[in-house]
Symmetry: C2
Subunit: 299 residues, 2 copies
């Protein structure tokens, strides 16, 4: 069985792992995301060490963004316009490929997580589904007609605009670009700024969750109308609050109001909006899945 | 050169045509959409008559919805839950295929129009773009990664929800399901209900257009964030008001606020949000393009 390396690159930490799937993860290391040269050196050293005991066929990188994920672009594999020191216009794929000499897959963290869920988790057998993460930020990716979502650049679903009742909620939102877009209202730091308490410390009966569910349900309503996904997976730290998912499902049904007449939504909402099948490992397993796909793409 | 038949099926009228593309349209007929058996009889009679002089290789149907466009479904080719008399659960593809004995392509009117624009119009060379129509209703389709948009059912983009300032605009919207969703606010009948004047009679300096452009720009903002299309085509009768397109482009740039850093949006917005290249013929040429694709799919 072929062995792959995965790099889950977040804005604050990097997870590197070697394995072939969820039941065969052989080694894992985590370290803070510092400047790109140091970070990539550490990741490369880990994979070089690991490949002494067994050959690694390919590397997959599931990264924070914005990133150039278009294989025909001259800057494919680069991080683009991030404020993170040293990472703006930094080549991520090039150094890894040169040092390790294997195919390198590269996509956004959310497309990686979506691919992992498709391969081993909650999206097996589907061809059109979304993976949305509600955590430090809000992002979305997925597969449409069997292909990972790409376009002009890549989706930035966290920045969609939603209707709001400002008499009920006058919080201005924290997005530096759009104020009260989806991310500006619902990510972890937005909850912290709004209520003065970290998201993980807000009790289940706090009014924050009702409002959070309202905004997420509106976002899902828009995603259903625009893309008609077969399933929506809600990942990320904020989405782990147990009362959130049932609230979002019920509010989504109310919002759609019977318009989309499909049993998946009318009768089976509990299997339509779901938690990630891979739990907290969706990220790094997504990177492993990107590596596996990179091997197939170069065959 | 192979010859195709196209059926553009709208809620009020049907257009049937025979040709091979925009420069070779040989015959066209239009009649009101009455009950399915009468309507299909007329369409079939037209194509039988036409096929006496030259062989028709395939038929394409670009239809109003909701419709079952999933080729692996037992009710593929059916109209589904429409209130239109006789059309609920009516088989559209079956009778046409049986009478004419050729492959029949079947998709939504907006996916058909998108395919026509891809083949001969404003989307040539792209693989990820949207076609939005603002007319009697609001609908959207398009291509993602080179495939027409399908999913659980098909997109219903007209029903996305948008932020609103109700102090500025207290109109309740006309959508029977959602009130003030995109379609409920911006389609032709919504403009008529809001301002008491038919959309085509509203003068260019009427405040309706500024508000219409605000809502459409918000919808496009969401589509850009969710799908990252390479281009957005705005068709339909309401979008033909000449001042609308420039207003929408400018407001979309303001809303995105530099977040999506791509020259297509920052520098070339005039070629990013465009009118259909096929003008009023996008519909029936889309049906012809669906026929052409049906031939390829059965080869």
């Amino acid at each position: 069985m072929a062995l792959y390396g995965g790099i889950e690159a977040g804005g604050t930490k990097i997870v590197c792992a070697v394995g072939s799937g969820p039941d065969d993860m052989r080694a894992e290391v985590r370290f803070p995301t510092t400047r790109p040269e140091d970070t990539l050196d550490k990741a490369i050293a880990f994979f070089q060490e690991q490949s002494r005991s067994a050959e690694i066929s390919a590397i997959g990188i599931a990264t924070f963004g914005p990133a150039d994920v278009n294989p025909s672009s001259p800057t494919f594999g680069f991080i683009t316009s991030t404020p993170k020191p040293g990472w703006a216009n930094a080549d991520f794929v090039g150094p890894v490929q040169q040092a390790l000499g294997v195919p390198v897959g590269f996509d956004t963290d959310v497309n990686g997580a979506a691919l992992g869920e498709y391969r081993w988790g909650a999206a097996q057998g589907l061809d059109t589904f979304l993976y949305l993460t509600i955590g430090t930020g809000v992002g979305g990716g997925g597969m449409l007609g069997g292909k990972l979502m790409h376009g002009l650049v890549h989706p930035e679903m966290g920045h969609m605009r939603l209707p709001r009742d400002r008499h009920r909620d006058s919080f201005a939102g924290i997005c530096p670009y759009h104020g009260d877009c989806l991310e500006g209202l619902t990510c972890g730091p937005a909850l912290q700024a709004h209520w003065g308490v970290a998201a993980e410390k807000l009790p289940p009966d706090h009014p924050a969750w009702e409002l959070e569910a309202d905004y997420l349900a509106l976002a899902l309503h828009n995603l259903v109308c625009i893309l008609s996904p077969q399933r929506i997976i809600l990942g990320g730290g904020v989405a782990q609050q147990p009362i959130l998912l049932p609230l979002v499902r019920q509010k989504l049904q109310t919002l759609l109001n019977g318009y989309v007449q499909h049993p998946a939504i009318i009768d089976d909402i509990d299997t339509y909006v779901v938690a990630p099948g891979l739990g907290n490992h969706a990220g790094v397993l997504g990177a492993i899945a990107l590596a596996e796909m990179a091997t197939r793409n170069t065959e």
